[in-house]
């Protein structure tokens, strides 16, 4: 039987302090709390609970449609949900992206950096991407700092066709340079 969502053989990445795996039902409450908070301002939020539920469902469904998507970040020492980082390419997106957003308690620990490096390496190795971008709001200094730290360079802007949401495009180093 062909499984519509191939979660049976879904990837599981390990970094020094984190486990990266596809999001699941047990992550929903934490991710929805994040989406409803002011911390979600950088990605178009904060969102109403129903919108947040749809967004979480969409995060999972992206895996079903693309075979990859945001990884949920699980802190090794506590098992707690720290946010989501990973390859993201919904319909209408300018190019495949490495996206990131972490919950408040993960901030300042370098988790997003750790997970984004692992996600980028996986996208290059396992998915065969030859380039990657990250989309960052111009006012999001912290996120832009992470892009710089990953070796990204600014490469224009992108305006979301519907919402008029304008973001900076940060281009990642190519696979050879990022290895």
């Amino acid at each position: 039987m062909s499984a519509p969502l191939a979660f049976a053989n879904s990837p599981r990445l390990e970094t020094e302090r984190l486990i990266l795996r596809p999001p699941q039902a047990s992550d929903a409450a934490d991710e929805m709390a994040f989406l409803a908070s002011d911390r979600a301002a950088g990605i178009g939020g904060p969102f109403h609970p129903m919108q947040a539920f749809r967004s979480v469902a969409g995060l999972i469904g992206h895996w079903g449609l693309r075979g990859y998507g945001f990884f949920a970040l699980e802190e090794k020492t506590t098992g707690r949900y720290m946010g989501r980082v990973g390859p993201w390419f919904p319909e209408g997106w300018p190019e495949p992206e490495i996206g990131w957003s972490v919950v408040g308690e993960a901030e300042g620990k370098g988790y997003a950096y750790e997970a984004a490096l692992a996600s980028r390496a996986w996208a290059y190795d396992a998915l065969g991407w030859i380039t990657a971008i990250s989309l960052v709001e111009a006012t999001n200094d912290r996120s832009a700092g992470l892009a710089r730290r990953m070796g990204c360079t600014q490469d224009g802007t992108w305006t979301h066709p519907l919402d008029g949401w304008v973001v900076d495009i940060w281009r990642h180093p190519a696979p050879e340079a990022a290895a």
Binding site: P49, M50, A57, I60, L65
Partner: protein, 180 residues
Amino acid sequence: MSAPPTYASAPRLQTERLSLRPPRAQDAGAYRDFYADGAASAFYGGPLPEHRAWMRLAADIGHWSLRGFGVFALVHRGETVGGCGLHHPQGWPSHELTWWLAPGARGAGLAREASEAVLGWARDALGWTAVETHMKDDNLPARRLAERLGFALHRRETFPDGVARDVLRRPLGAVGGASA
């Protein structure tokens, strides 16, 4: 620990004319076309541009993982012609039996056929004793179909979007043909 069934174990239902299976990537065109048609999708939040329709599809897929039930894609003669299933976003006061059909597939009783299969599945596989549905007051086709399926007015409720809707309920003593 009882985890909800994952998408990989999601069911398939077969009716006389339809196969029902959870939605997947091949359904993107059907979602796109349906939501591009403002008249056809008016009661479903349409019209929607392609990228929004794609996220609807993604959310319908993820709903299965989050809830253990969801909306099936309806496949008729190898083509995806619509969807039917049980939907319950968090924050919404009730689950609902829901369905949608491409304009070319309407008028042939497919929504009823699919709905009866879903009701039987809700009873037999999910163990539900009743299913609810709701619709806006001006959605007369949905109201008529619900009543033909054995749904009756249960209550009136104001939903989080501020719109008051009739909530109809169908006990699941018997599905298809005989009434409960």
